[in-house]
Structure formats: C-alpha cells, structure tokens
Assembly symmetry: C2
Homo-oligomer: 441 residues x 2
C-alpha cells in the first residue's frame, strides 16, 4: 500500500515511535540528530536513543540504535539529554530512568563517543540532590567561560517545576549549584531545559508540565521561552514566558550551534492526543511521529525569530509567481514552499489540501484550523496579530510549518489528507504577492 | 536492481555483516537467534549482538540491536557467547573485548533479559585467570546437576588452544576449575566451545584456530567435534576429532535445545576468503553472509547425524517424483529440496545451477566442486565414503546444504550464479529414485 503521508524533509523513524530530539550536535562536517525511539512498539513503553546523521541537513541517513537501556542505571529508559564536544570527542549526557518496585529513580549519565559508532557509558553518574523528586531529567550541557554547566529539568519536593544547575571543570565531577530558575509558571515539572547564548542575551527554553501528583501522571505540557541573562548560576528573565509555537504539534525543542554559528532548533512535532495517536494513519506503515524541520533561531531587537534554513530555499525552484487577489492550485506530493505577501490591512482566507489546513485573518485576529484525522472535526486556535506582511508555508506530505512575518510566530501541525485532497485556495480582500516553490532533492 | 541471491530460509542480516550465531535459546514459544553483527560496515571492525526471533524456525523477524559495545569492558566488541534460562529469565554470557594502547583484554560478561527487549549488563565480570593469554572468549553455559558450568575458548601462555572451565551456584560468582580439555590438535587457540549432552554421551564442539603468534593474527580455523564424557570438570573423548561439515562454508556452530528436547545447531555459513568477501555479490545490496539452516543433531550408535528440521519437509510439496538413470530440470527461484536415492554400488554425477555446484561419486570417493565467484575457477574437496544410499539437497538462492546418508556427512556452501543458470542434471550408472520438493511459505 502506498504511503502518501511519508514526509520528505521531516525526520521520521524507519520504524517505531520517535519523540524528543536528543544530543543535537555538529561535528567535523556531520550533523548528529539523536532521538527518543521505541523501535519495538508504537507506544512509549521503551525509550532509547536512535541516531540519524546528515552532511547537509536535507539528506538523512538512519544509523539505528545509539544508546540502549542496558545497565542497572538506565534499564527502564535512556531518556532525553544533550551533547557537547570536548577534546575532539562527542560527549553526551542523558537521564537513565529506573523503576524498582514501582519506585522511580533517575541518574544523569555521561557517555563518550570513544570511536565511530561506540558510545562508552561512564561509571560516574549524578544522583538527584535533596529537595527534588525523582522527576529530575533532560540534562542540558553548555560550555561557559571557564567551566561546563548542566541544567536539569526538575520537580521540587513541593511539586513545583524548576531547573537545577550543576557545574564541572572536567565533565566528570559535577557540583550542584542550586536552582537555576524557579517560578510557579513552570507548573508541576519543567522538562527539557535548553539554554541558547546569543551575543548579549540568553534564551532559556522550558517545557512546563502539569502533573497529577497523586497518580504520578502528566496532564499537559507545552514549550516556551524566556529571554534574559545568567548571573551567578541563576537565570534572570527580562521577558515574559512566551510560547515557541502557536500550532498544534510542537514539543521538547533542542538547540545546537553549527559550524557557521547558527543556532538551530529541532523539536518533536507532536502534541497528539491518545485518540489522535490511535488513529494516526502512519501506524499501518509501522512508524509514528516526526521531528520539526531544523529552524534557525535569530534574536533581533530583543525579539526571537524562527526561520526555515536557507538550505531549503537553495534547493527549491519557483513553479509559479503571481500577484493577484485569488489563486487556486493543486499541491503535488513533493515538498512545497508557498510565499504569501498580503497587502497592508487586508483580510484573507487560506485553505490548503481541501480545507485540511485553514488560516483566516480579519480584525487583527489570525485563526488556524486543522482537520483532526481522529474526528474529522476542526482543531482551532485564534490569536491576535496586529500586522501580517509575510507568511511562508513549508508543506511536507503530512507536516506543515507556517512562518508568520519572518518567523515572529510559527504554526506547526501534522495533517493527514487523502491522496486526492490537494486543492489549495488563497483569497484576499486586496492584491497579494504569491510564489510556489518545489524542493528539488 | 533485483537481488536473486537473497536467501529464503537462511538467516541473513537486514543490512551489514553477520557472523557467529550467539545466545541461541528457545523460551516460552519463541526462538531467539542472536548473532555477531556489524550493522555499519561490511567488515569485521565492529561487533555487536543483533537479534532475530521466530515462532516456527521458518519465519524470522529481525529485532535489530540486542547488545551493543557501550561499557569500558566491551567497548571494542560484544563478542560471541551463549544463553541459558534461569528463574523465568534469559541470561546471556558474552565476551567483552577491549583494546587499550594495542593491548587486548577480555571480560566474560553476564547480562539478564530483565524485561522485554532490555538486557541489563551485570557489574560482576570474569577476568582471565593466569596461565592464559587474552584470547579467552566465547563463554558457553550449561546446567549440570547441581550447578552451572561455563566453558571458555582459550589460548595458554604457551600459545596452545585449550578450553577453560568455571562453575557457579548462582550464575553470579564463578570458580575457575582449570582446563576442561587440552590437546595439541586444538592448534594455537580454541574458539567457540559448545557442549551437547545426550542421554549417555557428551558432544564437544570446538573450533581450532591456527594463529600467527607474533602478529596476533589468525591464519585458518575449522569446526569439529569429539564424542566423549565429562568427569570431574574434565572432558574425556572417546572418538577422534571429526569435522562437522565437509563443505566450504561452515564455522562457529552453536547448539541449543528446543521444547521437545531436540538439539538444534546453527552455524555461521562462511569460510570465505578475503577475495571471496571482496567479490561477494550481496555487497551491492548492503549485506553479507548468512547462517546455516538450523539442523537437528542426533547421536545414534555412537555416531553423529545432522538432519534438516522436519518443519521444512512439512512445509514442502512434491513437484516431481521419478525413478530413472538421468534427469535434467530447471531450478526455480524458490527454496527447493531434492531427495536422491542412488542404487547400491552406482557411480553418479550431479550438476546444479549450470555446474556452479557439482558432486561426483566413483571408486568410493565423493568429489564436491563449487564454482568460486571471485575467480570462476572451482573449489574442490574429495573424501572417501564407502556407500551412499541417500543425498538430500536443501537449495536456497545462494546457499546449499547437502546431507549425505541422513546427515552422516554434510556439505555446506555458498554459491552465486546468474539468474539464467538454473539447469540441474542428475546422471547415474544405475537407476535412482528422485524427488523434487518446493517449500511453500
């Protein structure tokens, strides 16, 4: 059976279930994207790190299992973590999850890529300091001036989300330095902290998680960021907490820096409900979920922009370019980019893939609708945006990322349409510029 | 490009290079075949345990990586080993290979299948006792009456092949009990010892290896067996050392027992030279080598017989049955079985796949020829056999196993012919019975 949902650019597993991107790193010409992987079942009962690599961020080569649960400190899951280079070797840190007689215990574990394809798990591990529950995970390592720093997503004894900080001179011995950041807005747990260092600002990514404490179950979670600074092992925000993505499928982003200094982010492209996972059309092909496209993070005038990589534009060819008030056309099954430049103060309506994806802008409100494949009803989000001068649509076969005003806002969503649902309509109160591009790979 | 060499019944890797079968075990309705696997390159630079499982020994499901090199005790290779059940769990023992500054050091490592898909490596390991070099590997575990026993393939300080023995009450603490068996015939190293316990006899499988001591390189090796008994942690043979297979491609066999008590053996189906590996036609499809078919070992009147599993006959259908002095027919690209029953004292010539495989019997000598795909010349073996009353040919697409006189002798060989080389000829001085069967799976 033909798989019309198989994405072209979005990283998907060869089989099994993918979630968080892990250990993102650029090393000697090669991009490493590790990811949380259940290669046995389409559920979350097993977690290891799978690996895919690329030389150009477009073509990816699956490398299979990279770190698997096989020690007494990670037997119930090789959970998320990050990577950093030191002395010519890639070092990764991840959370080893264990459950013995129902009791969770977490270890922050260090592994070194001692030679090609061989990560050696180091015996020294970090146990959870007092003051926290064992929801203590997702170590994020950065190099500060004269030392290394590890942020760990955490839950306090009182069940508040927070971030713990450790420092080290050698990546081996770590000193606990207290709470890097705490705020009630971090709900009951803060997952996947990430710190991005721009010239004079820091960007702190957090995933606040609401939890049902008695049952030890998660309820909901989302991904957001602060802009601020770091002083004496503490983060001081000078912005309010802002969502990273206004769409339906985005979580646990991770950022790394490439050769040219670009800050590149990938995230898990799913916030699917259990019902949506159950009905996910790729299940019949033995896999589920994907990552977002890598996006460049740019901080300009104190404001964060997320932009698609220029590599994708370089690899694209214009199919059509027009100025009009209305255009109807069919998508093909390739990766397509649409550039849409509305006039000032115009209203517009956009429908993609026979209404599977819809955008409507009027009265300074943008409404985003996505047809839910599990119910055939629409999921809807509306938010205020005072001016829209550009929207770029990056359309893969079952994943779309919509960049508004050069990435001031991004809407990410999975969608699953039939093969014959390829009709697109752009309709506006005023003339707009429009361009369709096809990716040539 | 079509792969006409892809075998139907012989276990092959999805990609990469396979060698020794490891950890063979039947557990709760499922057959586990682990194997030495380089999933990254078609060479021997990386070794882990891959896994494939089956419910019927016919249909196999690849499970990917099972044990990977990721600790300081196995970072340079998860080498061969065996499996045994205890208290409802599968326990495996393997050799962890390490090389630091060019110095080899081996550890015998214990891992427990703590839950589905998760082997947990245990911290206690066995280091090499004094009196041996670090060519100390391939632990084979058996349950004796009141304790567990481990045989380890070894090389003495004086560079003689031997087998070391350990015993344990709990699979955790092991006591070294000296040399299980030593004999100059074991060359410079004895790889992959296996012990099979029949009603009143023991079968000891050994792989004597000739080594170039100064360069620490292997020269040649083969697989053979003794029949004998075990007394006070020592093996006492009452047969001479006999080759297990008289063909071209057979090494490092391993035996396990299934539910019904059958002793079933699989081996690595390769003794390819470097030149043959280089020219191996499956390389273009990203994989190399296969295992032999599982064979049942039967000890009858003090003599060992190797027989194809009855499962294959059960799944086969007769295409043709005839009595004649000559038959010519074409093979198809399915798995085929030929039963050949020559008359007493007859001479015969058999040519399969346009002469790629040839058997000739005259003057009580059987000559086996296989066309070498790297040179197009013939590899030849001749041995005396006083009477031949039956030959069964099990023909896969690029692997053939020939069972003489109900498995008194077996000839295993890889062969690689063109798609149009399908002509077979059986020609004898006297009438013979002949039957062609097709496997229906």
């Amino acid at each position: 059976m033909k798989n019309i949902h198989k994405n072209i650019l979005h990283i998907e597993p060869t089989h099994g279930l993918i979630n968080d991107p892990n250990g993102l790193i650029y090393d000697h010409g090669k991009y490493f994207v590790f990811y949380q992987w259940n290669r046995f079942k389409l559920d979350h009962s097993y977690k290891e790190w799978g690996l895919t690599t690329s030389f150009d961020l477009i073509h990816w080569q699956s490398q299979g299992s990279a770190l698997i649960p096989d020690t007494i400190k990670d037997k119930d899951g090789v959970y998320s973590g990050s990577a950093i280079p030191k002395d010519g070797k890639i070092h990764v840190f991840y959370t080893g999850n264990t459950k013995n007689n129902g009791n969770r215990k977490s270890y922050q574990i260090h592994a070194i890529l001692e030679k090609e394809n061989t990560f050696v798990k180091q015996p020294q591990t970090i146990e959870t300091p007092s003051g926290y529950t064992e929801h203590f995970r997702d170590p994020f390592i950065s190099k500060e001036n004269d030392h290394w720093q590890m942020l760990v997503g955490a839950q306090t004894d009182n069940h508040h989300g927070t971030i713990a900080i450790f420092t080290s001179d050698d990546l081996k011995k770590w000193q606990y330095q207290g709470k890097y950041f705490e705020n009630k807005i971090l709900d009951q747990m803060c997952e996947c902290p990430n710190l991005v260092t721009f010239k004079d600002k820091r960007l702190l990514l957090v995933c606040p998680q609401k939890r049902q404490i008695n049952l030890d179950q998660d309820i909901s979670s989302y991904s957001a960021y602060y802009i601020g600074k770091q002083e004496n092992n503490r983060f001081i925000p000078d912005s309010k907490l802002t969502k990273l993505d206004e769409g339906f499928d985005f979580y646990s982003p991770q950022v790394f820096q490439d050769k040219s200094g670009r800050k590149i982010m990938l995230a898990w492209m799913s916030r699917m409900t259990d019902t949506q996972e159950e009905a996910c059309p790729t299940k019949q092909f033995g896999y589920m979920h994907c990552l977002t496209l890598p996006r460049e993070l740019i901080l300009k005038n104190g404001k964060l922009y997320q932009q698609p990589l220029k590599e994708y534009l370089d690899a694209s060819q214009t199919r059509k370019k027009i100025e009009t008030k209305e255009i109807k056309f069919d998508s093909n099954l390739c990766f397509e980019i649409f550039h849409f430049n509305p006039s000032n103060n115009s209203k517009f309506e956009i429908s993609l893939f026979n209404d599977n994806i819809q955008l409507e802008y009027k009265n300074k409100n943008l409404t985003f609708r996505r047809k839910d494949w599990s119910t055939s009803k629409f999921n809807t989000k509306t938010f205020q945006i005072n001016e829209i001068y550009q929207i770029d649509f990056y359309c893969d076969r079952s994943a779309i990322e919509i960049f508004i005003n050069n990435g001031e806002k991004v809407l990410s969503a999975r969608y699953f349409c039939n093969e014959n649902e390829r009709k697109n309509i752009f309709l506006s109160s005023h003339n707009f510029k429009f361009e369709i591009k096809d990716l040539k790979i």
